[in-house]
Subunit: 368 residues, 2 copies
Amino acid sequence: MRTALCDTLGIQYPIVGFTPSEHVAAAISRAGGLGVLGCVRFNDAVELDSVLDWMDANTGGRPYGVDVVMPATVPKEGTSMDLTKLIPDEHRAFVDRTLRELGVPELPDDAGEQAGVLGWLHSVARSHVEVALRHRIALIANALGSPPVDVIEQAHQHGVPVAALAGKAEHAVRHVDNGVDLVVAQGYEAGGHTGEIASMVLLPEIVDAVGARVPVLAAGGIGSGRQVAAAFALGAVGAWMGSYWLTTTEYLETMSESAAVQQALLAASSSDTVRTRIYTGKPARLLKTKWTQAWSTPDAPEPLPMPLQNLLVAPAHQRIHAAKDPAVVSMPVGQIVGRMNEVRPVADVMVDLLRDYEETLTRLDKTR
Amino acid sequence: MRTALCDTLGIQYPIVGFTPSEHVAAAISRAGGLGVLGCVRFNDAVELDSVLDWMDANTGGRPYGVDVVMPATVPKEGTSMDLTKLIPDEHRAFVDRTLRELGVPELPDDAGEQAGVLGWLHSVARSHVEVALRHRIALIANALGSPPVDVIEQAHQHGVPVAALAGKAEHAVRHVDNGVDLVVAQGYEAGGHTGEIASMVLLPEIVDAVGARVPVLAAGGIGSGRQVAAAFALGAVGAWMGSYWLTTTEYLETMSESAAVQQALLAASSSDTVRTRIYTGKPARLLKTKWTQAWSTPDAPEPLPMPLQNLLVAPAHQRIHAAKDPAVVSMPVGQIVGRMNEVRPVADVMVDLLRDYEETLTRLDKTR
């Protein structure tokens, strides 16, 4: 499995793996793909710095990337405290009532409530970029489309290419016009922020719109070599996989408290996801659980706009996470969750992808 | 382009084309695929009989099929009159008001209001099967999943295989257990009745569930050889295409009044569809127009269950059709509508599919 993307990024196989876990990211890079570490969980840039030190030492000298969350237009932004005041009481009351009804306990007094996930804030995402550019990163990806042009230029001054997600062809064109170097075509079936157009239709549209100018990667629904081959048939030169790594052995090394989440993912079918605004304020695909269902009842309030919704639910997420109940989980994941049925090392996943890809091409050859 | 499906159905290329137009269906069969004529528009079995006589004479001796709409369980069903009484006044008032607001004129007095589209009724669908089995059909497909077991047996007695649509793997298993011979895996991106799982994920699931027992065809988002290759990479042995034929030259030969519909389809992007229950009572993907938007306003009533919703909107469809306004159209179509940008003969579409398929396989070969 080899495309032009391998030369662009200096990798062996055109598999890019997004993950919030440095252990997973490093393992993907060591296995010949490009591990891309999600930065949104790092409220403190110093913590990110030390994790990237670890990445530098543990990827076997192979390239890796980072993923930030940064809108193209800089929002008016106060401190976390200012923003918190904008959250209506009705929303707070709904969250409190829902957690009580779902049997999610309060945190112990000594736990110390976190200040939300500040990585969604523009200033914090900028600090992630500053820190990342001090490390030997091979890619900065932005989960929200094109980052601001000055951030792209800053990356380019360090020789680092920038990737942006797109759910529509016109968005992809805008990203490339802004200077973005790689486009990730994110289909409806994908986990996290996603649009309404499925990969089967979206990929050729984006490839025809920008494929002559930049490499296009396929995101959404990929967990096997068959799916990589389908994505390449549709014109992608790389596969961007996120969800599928959540059930790897390495994931629990970073996310040691996530055993209940992994258990919920292993049990879910491809019908057990929902696209909703309750995670960040923008439509994102999540695992369907009692938590997401509570938000779709008639008495649930409308989710708030980004970044307020995440500030609202972040303390709830902390309580949900601590409760370790597989039935009450708040987790972005794509429809491929139906095929995430065992916990395996990253290297085994990669071997299977390559073998299945070869078998698929051999099978296709016989149709000529 | 050749798979085992070619031998199963006695066709040259594994392309199955669903269409309400006998001119399109015949042209697909003549071009080496299998044209499948949708029967739901025939209220009168005698009319279907004469159209199938025409098909027998105009497919150049090549095989063709028919598509009926038949639930697996026989519903309690009165006459059209009895059912009509079950439609609430609120719904009728909403339809009347909406048509007035959208500037859709009443029909002229001499037009004679049709009795709805009776093909959705079980008894009428059964009469379609009876009639079709008197012709040299090569396939009976059911747009609503497995038909009743006695209908499958009746088809088998005539040596005719039965195909059923499935939007979930468990539905596909049920269909095959009932005796269905081919499964059409209908992805989220497809037009008409469709589930929530996109083809990228759905196809391998259905292939792994039933692919060893029956051929699996891919439906949803297919309009190019790249997309056929992607579907085959995912494990399908045939492509089921519906939407894409709506902008062929032959379509207007049958549907002479549909120029406004074709105009609306040509102008639409892949974002201009919506999955809604307003057409039949079950979720179906339609072209997004002022008509579908009216049904998503806060004062719109909930759509009625099948078959009531279609009885409710059928007279409205007749008025909408007569008004010939591309902005007010009621038409099932998939997300591939974004690539339906010119009117071409069926034979040209087929030539392009084959050429693009070959080019895609050649391109994939270079990734090994």
